[in-house]
Structures are given as structure tokens and as C-alpha cells.
């Protein structure tokens, strides 16, 4: 009896083996290899012997100190993310509060959710090229619309304006993601104990008070989760800025994000794998810091409790086995 209960635990190892193997080969090794390339002089299409730089950190120093393009890409990533996220979270919160408000009783919520979430599921590459076509100059759908509404006298070349293109990329990100954030927040509000809302109603709290004193504080963890996952996603922003302009980066590199920079360094022109790898590692450090933060938000609070419980059960089982 005792022998058998021990023998099952080996399946834990056996069944996790494929995951561990695939992770080591396709995730861990490439990450370490990327870090290694960051310290070398690897460049060019034709493979040749690779050497570690005289100063191993030369690529990193070059990027941070001497490369305005890279710095610009980091700033762009941050600016585009912030301009997309602030209106996104505000609108999502508003909609979530309205949809869950018992007094308002908004109808056909299901249909609204389906429609507002829709852009999120469509291929980002398709959306990028679609918006490029919609903003076409001199004749394009948006220019026609502006003309029809009398907002502009002559066609506007949207794609040539730095602020406009950057805002457009932010807008597309916002438009693709606010529905997703809204649904997550609605689920979060649904998870708040209804007695809290009831007692607030009994105490005569109005809509604003309930929102700011009950809903918002109770959503703190979920909001933090939304914030951090959105930041990690924002760091990787690639499809939209890569395909929105005919030449990735747009006028004066206005929409050059960190991922677009990395792709451009490694797979265009001079094939500077080492510089791209160093930039990836800098990005990796940012993502790792954010992930560590997220990890603390999401860690299983009950896990330690469960573990104690499990130990007790095991002990009981063992004593029972001994008695048998």
C-alpha cells in the first residue's frame, strides 16, 4: 500500500517532461544564446567565426550612449503606449461601471460586448494595412469623410504628419484593446460581493460615490493586472507600427518602436545581430521587471495554505498505510 502511493508521484515528473524539454530547447536556450550574441561581433548575412568583443558590453554601451535611434524607439514605445492606455482604461472603466449598474439596466449588453471586443480578434497586420488604406492621400475614405463633413478644405496627408501618425498608432492600439479591458473589468466588478453595493445603496450613496468608494477600490488588483499585462504587451508592440507605414517607422521615425528597431537592425540592411540581441536583452530586462511585479500580484495566495493541508493528508495516509 505504502509502496504504491509513492510510485504515483513519478508521473508528475513524466507528464511535465515534454513541457520542460520544449521550454529548454525553444525558450531558455534561445534566450541565453541571444544574451551571448549581445556580447559578440556577430553581423552580416554570411556566417563567420564569432568573437566576444574586447569590451563585452560595447554593444550595450553603443546602444544606450551613441544610438539616438534606439533611444527614440524606447521613447516612442512609451509615448504610444501611454497615449493608448489612459483613454483605454478610462473608457473601459466607464463602460464597465455602466454595464454593471443595477439601476441603469442597460439592455443588449451582449451585442455591445461582441461588437466592442471585435477589433481585438482580427489580425493586427490586416488592421495596420487597412488603416493605412483608410488614411490614404490625396483620396481615401477618411479624407472623403472629412470633405463630406466640411472639416477640411483640401485633402490632408495624414501619413506624413509625425503627431498624426503616432496618434493613429495609439488610436489603433486603443481601439483594438479597450473592449478586452472592459470585459475583464466587468468580470472584476461581477466578482465584488453584492452586499457591499447593497449596503452602499441603503446608506444612500449615489452613483459617483458607489463608483469611487466601492467599485474602484475593490478593482485594485484587477486594474494592476490590466496595467502590467498591457505594459508588457506594449513593450512588444510590433505589428501595427511595422506595417502601418510603407517604410516601417514612418516620417522621421515617429512610430519606430523598440520591437520594430530590433527587427530592422537584425533583418534589414547590415544584419547587425549583435546590436539587435543587445537591444532585445534591454527589452528583456524591462519585461522581466514587469513580470516579476505581475508575479507578485498573481501568486497563489492559497497555495501555501493548500500545501499545509496536503501535508496533513499525506501524513494521515502514511499512518493509515502503516496501520494496514
Amino acid at each position: 500500500m505504502r509502496h504504491k502511493s509513492v510510485s504515483y508521484s513519478k508521473y508528475g515528473y513524466i507528464f511535465s517532461l515534454p513541457f520542460v524539454f520544449a521550454f529548454l530547447v525553444f525558450a531558455l536556450y534561445p534566450t541565453l544564446y541571444t544574451a551571448f550574441i549581445g556580447f559578440t561581433d556577430m553581423k552580416g548575412v554570411i556566417p563567420k567565426p564569432v568573437q566576444i568583443m574586447d569590451n563585452p558590453f560595447q554593444n550595450f554601451i553603443d546602444l544606450i550612449v551613441d544610438n539616438p535611434s534606439f533611444r527614440k524607439s524606447l521613447v516612442n514605445t512609451a509615448v504610444i503606449w501611454v497615449v493608448n492606455f489612459v483613454p483605454q482604461i478610462v473608457l473601459a472603466l466607464l463602460l464597465a461601471a455602466w454595464f454593471t449598474n443595477q439601476r441603469l439596466k442597460i439592455r443588449s449588453q451582449g451585442a455591445f460586448k461582441v461588437l466592442l471586443y471585435m477589433p481585438n480578434i482580427i489580425t493586427a497586420s490586416t488592421i495596420a494595412v487597412l488603416f493605412n488604406a483608410l488614411l490614404a492621400y490625396p483620396i481615401g475614405p477618411l479624407n472623403s469623410l472629412f470633405d463630406m463633413l466640411g472639416w477640411s478644405d483640401s485633402p490632408i496627408n495624414f501619413m506624413q504628419d509625425k503627431t498624426v501618425t503616432r496618434s493613429a498608432v495609439s488610436f489603433i492600439q486603443f481601439w483594438m484593446w479597450y473592449g478586452n479591458t472592459m470585459i475583464v473589468l466587468i468580470a472584476g466588478i461581477a466578482g465584488i460581493s453584492p452586499t457591499l453595493f447593497e449596503s452602499a445603496a441603503i446608506d444612500g450613496a449615489n452613483g459617483f460615490q458607489t463608483f469611487f468608494r466601492i467599485t474602484l477600490p475593490s478593482l485594485r488588483t484587477i486594474m494592476l493586472f490590466v496595467l502590467v499585462t498591457s505594459m508588457i504587451g506594449g513593450l512588444q508592440m510590433f505589428d501595427i507600427p511595422q506595417l502601418f507605414h510603407r517604410v516601417a517607422g514612418g516620417p522621421d521615425d515617429a512610430t519606430l518602436t523598440a520591437s520594430v528597431f530590433i527587427y530592422g537592425q537584425a533583418f534589414k540592411g547590415s544584419y547587425l545581430y549583435n546590436r539587435a540581441a543587445a537591444a532585445s536583452m534591454i527589452l528583456f530586462v524591462f519585461a522581466a521587471i514587469l513580470s516579476a511585479f505581475l508575479f507578485y500580484i498573481m501568486r497563489d495566495r492559497d497555495a501555501s495554505k493548500l500545501k499545509k493541508e496536503q501535508k496533513k493528508i499525506n501524513q494521515a495516509a502514511r499512518t493509515m498505510a502503516r496501520e494496514v
Partner: protein
Amino acid sequence: MNTIKETSALSLNINRTIIYILCIALSLLSILPFWIMFVNATRSTPEIQSGLSLLPSVHLMTNMNVLTSKSFDPIRGFINSLMVSGFATALAVYFSTLTAYALVAYNWKWRQPFFTFILAVMMIPAQASAIGFYKFMYQLHWTNSFMPLILPAIASPAIVFFMRQYLLATLSVEMVEASRIDGAGEFFTFNRIVIPIMIPGIAVQAIFGFVASWNNLFMPLILLTQKDKFTLPIMVSLLKGDIYKTEYGSIYLGLSLTALPLFIIYFLLSKYIISGVALGGVKE
């Protein structure tokens, strides 16, 4: 008292009206770009250049001929995307469920550290290892192969996380014990007892896994250079190039063709997708 009630009812109605108007405006904002895309796919380039229209025209076949006469091959792209996403999704959900089962059903020494590890690596972006991954695949002569796009799906930490949560809620020890008493092996029990009860969870993760893989641009763009291997997102990137410069009708048609399968999937499964998104947020 009555007047207070009336005014509050009135303000409630005003609020409601404003909210409905905003929601309808936002819905239109979601629909309109895609509507214009589908409509323009049926209009000729001169028609598109003459202004905006919300009604379809009759030039679908002309646009199709222009589109396919150049390097855009939607059927090839569709088959390639389907192969990559199909196999990647199948591997991802099967092995993630297996890993989650290992985490839930068995009591082994490394269980908790392994779960902590999965949580820790869940959000690491693919871009962080892309250069090393590309160089590694290049050395294996696996560029222009679908293998590097499919096999890494075996290790999908986020899906393992969801499957574990799902298993904790649905798996009963009695079921597993009963299967053991019947003399079934552990692997058999997993395939014949555990997988069937996991189907709802697997379906949700399969939809999201499939869509994520279908929409992926970064990795295929790096790895695939031969035209006959291109997935749909890479084909889309061809549409903005010089070859279609003035052929707006066929550009819109190409975009429509890449988006159409997703619209079909979405409207068939939107109920599950929306509830899946909601589930994703409430992770605790």
C-alpha cells in the same frame, strides 16, 4: 417626495440615453472600418478614388484577378496559416493539459517550485529571444520550415496556468481512483478520463491559442523567406508594397480575405470568446 422621484427618474432616463448613444457610436466605430474594407473589396479602383460608399459594387471578380495575378496567393496563405495554427494549437492544448494534470493530480517534490516557475516565465515576450532563436533555427536549417512555429507551442506557460485552474475546479480524485482500481494506467486515465472532462476548458484555450497563432506576424516574418511558405499575416505585408500601389480594390480584397475566416470564427463562437476573455481577467 414625488417630484424628487420624478426628477431622478428623468435624470436616469437622460443618462441611459447618453449611454446608449455612446455605445452605439462605439459599435459603429468597430464596424465601420471593416464595413468599408468589405465594400471596397467589391469596388473598382476608380470608384474607390471617387469617394466613400457604404454600398457594395460589382467588381469583386476584377479585383480578384488583379490580386492573384501578382504575388498574393490567398489559398496558399490560408493553407499555410491553417497548418501552422492547427498543429500549434493541438500541441499547445494537449501538452498544457498534460502538464497541468501533472501539477494537480500528483504530489511530487518539485510540484510547487515548477508551478512558481511557470508563473514566472508566463509573460516573457518572444522578442526577447528572437535573435538567438533565429540563429539557432538557421543552424538547424529550419528556416522556411513550419517546425519552429509549431513545436515551441508544447511549452505554453499561460495555457498551463489556465488548465491548472480549470482542473482544480473540475477534477475529482474519486474519478481517478476509480480508473486506477479498474487497472487503467496513468496515461490511459489521462487520455480517456481527464481529457473528456476538460473539453470545455480545452475549447476556450484552443480558440485563443488558434487566434493568437493565426495572427502572429513577428516569428513567421523572421523565419519564412520563401513565398510558398508565407502565412496570411506576411501576405498582408505584401499588400502595402509597391506592386499594389494603385490597385486599391485588390488591396481591400486581400485584406478582406485574410480577415474573413476570423469574422466567421468570431460570430460563431463569440459567446465562448467573450466569456473566455472574462475568465482571463479573474485569475485569482
